[in-house]
């Protein structure tokens, strides 16, 4: 009976012009009201916690005062943006943000791919599984603990690294205190923590390599390296491109949770990035409007970057996010 009802309704959908849009909406909702009911809660949440803050970002164009509220505050147009672009902070923040994220992209993007290709070549179920399990273990460690471990491992007096260095006759170095090492510490700790987890996705993609292609390559006398280069890599290329687009989209929003913890007065000149600046100006100094303007600038840059990356990927090899 249900199937019959469904078939009856089908032509109705095609005739929306005749029967009216409202009628077909009512029909659709009545037929699937339970599905719509399920969606009510998530959509309500989405509007409240994602789209209301987006609308709230108008305070970037206003002189927000708590007493007068968001809508009562005076409109100042682009003044906060102008202020931001004029200050010395602007160049510094852009430089730091881009440097740390591009460094991170260049190093931590290819590493998981290499690891996945290596794990894929391993023979023996247990060996493979152990390597995989160990490499994604650090993903589950919190940022606070990670930075805590770093501070202890690299500590001048009690740390493992300096113990080993002095054991071999070197001089202890204050890795965490040297501003010049800040970027490397950030990026390589990121590799340590995220490499195995990011590799999972590529390992999954490698599982879909067509075995007959590999066999044909073997018969043609292709070496392992050539098999990886001509068979495995092209198979996972779409996955790589998607991951790269996503990574491009977050170039301007580097993990500020970790950077905030790694910051100290000595390395501030290199470690102050846009998001930590927003936090300090907004929630420590209460310059709500100014901080929102800086944050909005950041979000817009991200959006532009991801759209550009997507367009580029579409043109070059027809894989894209949308």
């Amino acid at each position: 009976m249900v199937i019959k009802a469904r078939e009856k309704n089908k032509p109705a959908k095609g005739q929306t012009g005749k029967r009216g849009v409202w009628e077909s909406i009512v029909l659709e909702v009545r037929k699937r009201w339970q599905l719509y009911l399920m969606l009510v809660l998530p959509i309500a949440w989405l509007i409240t916690f994602a789209y209301v803050p987006m609308a709230g970002a108008v305070i970037a164009f206003k002189d927000f005062s708590i007493r007068r509220g968001i809508w009562g505050s005076d409109w100042v147009g682009l003044r906060h943006f102008k202020n931001f672009f004029m200050t010395r902070d602007f160049g510094l923040l852009i430089r730091n943000t881009l440097a740390v994220s591009l460094y991170s992209l260049v190093v931590s993007f290819p590493m998981p791919i290499l690891l996945a290709l290596a794990i894929n070549e391993l023979s023996g179920r247990h060996y493979k599984k152990i390597v995989q399990m160990v490499t994604y273990l650090p993903y589950f460690i919190s940022t606070v603990v990670l930075v805590g471990i770093m501070q202890n491992i690299f500590s001048v007096r009690t740390g493992l690294v300096n113990n080993v260095i002095t054991l071999f006759g070197g001089t202890a170095t204050d890795f965490m205190g040297k501003p010049g090492l800040f970027r490397s510490m950030y990026v390589w700790s990121g590799v340590w923590q995220g490499m195995g987890y990011s590799a999972v996705i590529y390992i999954a993609a490698l599982a879909s390599v067509d075995p007959s292609l590999t066999e044909a390559a073997i018969i043609d006398g292709a070496s392992r390296f050539k098999r990886v280069w001509y068979v495995d890599l092209p198979t996972i290329l779409p996955t790589i491109v998607i991951q790269l687009i996503m990574a491009m989209g977050s170039v301007m929003s580097v993990g500020f949770e970790k950077i905030y913890l790694l910051q100290n007065p000595v390395n501030l000149e290199l470690s102050e990035i846009i998001s930590t600046f927003v936090y300090k100006r907004g929630l420590v100094n209460f310059q709500y409007s100014y901080a929102t303007a800086v944050g909005l600038f950041n979000s817009v840059c991200n959006l532009i970057l991801i759209v550009l990356a997507n367009m580029f990927a579409k043109k070059v090899n027809e894989t894209s996010l949308w």
Partner: protein
């Protein structure tokens, strides 16, 4: 495999030499990764069981020196750490329950191909991955909702992760055939019943992945909590740990030298034990969901 190429000696030789080099590189890469990941972790565990004196003189490598439980005993006396631990459990459990319910409620209808508003709604969700209002407007929203300094400020803004929604939806789409839905509806099964009686039991791997990712996310997060919570007794473990781990120079200068040395000594030990205590709960969860994790991520992410 080598047999196939046997009649062409030149090719075979070339292949073999090259392959050995390649496999050597593969093994080196895997071994280096495993060692680099394990050594720091083993060191922290070893250090947490060592005496402060051995730690300060740099004698600890990968095995405890002068085995002691002093660090762990000190933790038991730390009131904030204990309340932080309990708070973290509360936030994680409540948060994860809300997360999983919200994710399933959103993912199931959006996985149904016959739902008319499927694509536009999906776009509304994914757009928030690309663009957001930013930190300050979110803070002001939480403030206006009078959620500041309550558990709701911790669990509500992160009630749903769009990434998890996408993998869950893909999982539903690819593992629950249309035929089951058709035959169930012939038998008079409505959508609620179908979701609870058929989809959820079929989707345990992806639910396990969701529980793991959300729970780990709640347990490990500190930034939202730092923004939204003011009372120290409401702090989750990560915030308390941040105080212990980051404020290296809290020892007052006026104290006499021996006392200061003692504080200095135990401070390091306390940091190592704090790291262990903060990570153990997540590590306990790890093997449990491990068997589902890779599988669920694979099915969910590949086609997404």
């Amino acid at each position: 495999m080598a047999k196939v190429i046997k009649n062409n000696k030149k090719v075979r030789y070339y292949t073999k030499w090259n392959d050995h080099l390649y496999m050597a590189l593969v093994h080196i890469l895997c071994a280096v990764s495993v060692v680099c990941i394990l050594v720091p972790l083993v060191f922290v565990v070893a250090a947490s069981f060592s005496s402060p004196k051995a730690l300060l003189s740099g004698k600890v490598y990968l095995w405890p020196v002068d085995f002691t439980l002093r660090g762990y005993n000190m933790l038991l006396g730390h009131k904030l750490l204990i309340s932080g631990f309990l708070n973290s459990i509360l936030y994680t459990v409540v948060g994860t329950v809300i997360n999983v319910i919200m994710t399933v409620l959103a993912a199931y209808p959006l996985s149904r191909r016959d739902l008319a508003i499927r694509n536009p709604v999906m776009f509304f969700f994914t757009f928030t991955m690309l663009f957001s209002g930013g930190m300050i407007p979110s803070y002001m929203l939480v403030k206006n909702l009078h959620m500041l300094d309550t558990i709701w400020a911790v669990v509500m803004p992160t009630a749903l992760s769009v990434w998890n929604l996408i993998i869950t939806r893909t999982y539903f789409q690819s593992t629950i055939p249309q035929e089951i839905l058709d035959s169930a509806s012939v038998d008079g099964c409505d959508d609620f019943k179908f979701l609870i009686k058929i989809c959820i039991p079929l989707a345990t791997p992806i639910l396990a992945v969701n529980v793991l990712l959300y729970a780990v996310g709640h347990w490990n997060s500190y930034f939202n909590e730092m923004m939204y919570l003011n009372t120290t007794t409401k702090f989750p473990l990560q915030l308390v740990m941040r105080e212990i781990l980051m404020n290296m120079n809290t020892a007052g200068m006026s104290m006499d030298v021996t006392k200061q040395l003692e504080i200095q000594e135990t401070k390091y030990l306390l940091q190592y034990t704090t790291i262990i205590v903060g990570s153990v709960p997540v590590m306990l969860l790890y093997p449990l969901v491990q068997k589902y994790f890779v599988k669920g991520i694979m099915v969910g992410a590949i086609k997404g």
